[in-house]
C-alpha cells in the first residue's frame, strides 16, 4: 500500500488512492486532496465532508449518496454540483474515507 508524504507527514493510501486511515485526515489534508483532483473546497464542501466523516465513524462504513441525501439532508443535485460527475467517490477521496460499497 502506498505511503505518501503530504504536509510533512505520512499518510496511507489504498491502491486506488483512497486514504485507509480516517484518523490521518484533517482539513489541511482535505484541501491538498481536493486540489489534487481539481476541486477547491468551500465551507459547504466542508459541511458535507463533516457529515460523511461523522456518519462513517458511527456506522463503520462510508455513506452512499442516497444516505447523504436521506440522512444528511444534502440535496442530490447539490452533491453533483459540489463534487462533479462522480460525487460519491470524490467526496470519499477528499473526506479521507473508503469509497462506498452500497449499490444505491
Amino acid at each position: 500500500m502506498p505511503v505518501v508524504t503530504v504536509l510533512e507527514r505520512q499518510i496511507h493510501l489504498d491502491e486506488e488512492g483512497f486514504l485507509t486511515e480516517p484518523s490521518e485526515w484533517d482539513e489541511a489534508l482535505a484541501r491538498e486532496l481536493a486540489a489534487n483532483i481539481g476541486l477547491e473546497l468551500t465551507p459547504r464542501h466542508l459541511e458535507v465532508i463533516a457529515f460523511a466523516r461523522s456518519d462513517q465513524a458511527e456506522q463503520g462504513e462510508t455513506p452512499t449518496l442516497r444516505r447523504m441525501t436521506a440522512v444528511g439532508g444534502f440535496p442530490t443535485k447539490e452533491l453533483f454540483q459540489l463534487f462533479p460527475k462522480k460525487p460519491a467517490k470524490k467526496l470519499s477521496y477528499v473526506a479521507g474515507l473508503q469509497k462506498p460499497v452500497g449499490c444505491v
Binding site: 486506488e16 462522480k86 470524490k90 469509497k99
Partner: protein, 171 residues
C-alpha cells in the same frame, strides 16, 4: 512502496475526460416491482460515475412512470420458478399482495428508495427520462399522466437518434 508525494500517488479514476461521451440507455419494458429495480439501480449507479443516462419506458414499463401506478408496482410470484414456491399456492387469492409486501420490506430494509423517490433521485442526478409514443397512444396517456421528470413522449425514430453511440440495455 516508498514514500512519494501526492503528485505521484495513486488517484482514484476521476479522469472525467476518459468518461467523456460514455452514454448508457436503458429500455424499461416491464411493469412489475422486481423488474423496475434493475433499470433504476443501474441508472443511478451510472449517473454516480459521471455517465450520461437515458431511460426509455415502453409497454409495461409505463407502470413505473404512470402517476396512477408508479407507487403501487406489484411482484407476482406465480410462474416464477426462482421463488421456489408451488404455483398452486402462489396462485391463491391475495398471494400477490403478500409477495409484494415481502419484497417491499426487503427492499426498504436495504434502504433502497421506493420507485417514485428513486425517479426523483435519478432526475435530480441529471438522468433523462423518456416515454414511448406507441405505448402512450395505446393507453391514451399524455405527458400530464406521467411523472413530471419525464422529458417527453418520443417515437422509435427519436429513440434511434438519442441512443446513437450508447451502450443499450433492454430490461
Amino acid at each position: 512502496m516508498t514514500a512519494t508525494d501526492l503528485s505521484t500517488a495513486p488517484v482514484p479514476s476521476f479522469d472525467d475526460e476518459d468518461e467523456g461521451g460514455r452514454k448508457l440507455v436503458l429500455i424499461c419494458s416491464k411493469g412489475s416491482l422486481d423488474m423496475a429495480y434493475p433499470g433504476l439501480v443501474l441508472a443511478n449507479a451510472a449517473l454516480g460515475e459521471g455517465i450520461e443516462v437515458h431511460i426509455f419506458f415502453t409497454f409495461w414499463g409505463f407502470e413505473i412512470i404512470n402517476k396512477k401506478t408508479m407507487g403501487d408496482l406489484k411482484f407476482v410470484a406465480m410462474g416464477n420458478p426462482a421463488t421456489h414456491m408451488p404455483n398452486a399456492v402462489m396462485g391463491l387469492p391475495g398471494m400477490t399482495a403478500v409477495a409484494t409486501k415481502m419484497m417491499r420490506k426487503q427492499i426498504a430494509e436495504l434502504d433502497i428508495p421506493e420507485g417514485p423517490e428513486f425517479l426523483d433521485i435519478i432526475h435530480e442526478s441529471g438522468g433523462h427520462l423518456w416515454a414511448c409514443r406507441m405505448s402512450a397512444d395505446m393507453n391514451k396517456l399524455t405527458e400530464d399522466d406521467l411523472y413530471e421528470g419525464v422529458e417527453g413522449i418520443i417515437s422509435a425514430t427519436d429513440f434511434m437518434e438519442l441512443s446513437e453511440g450508447a451502450q443499450t440495455i433492454f430490461i
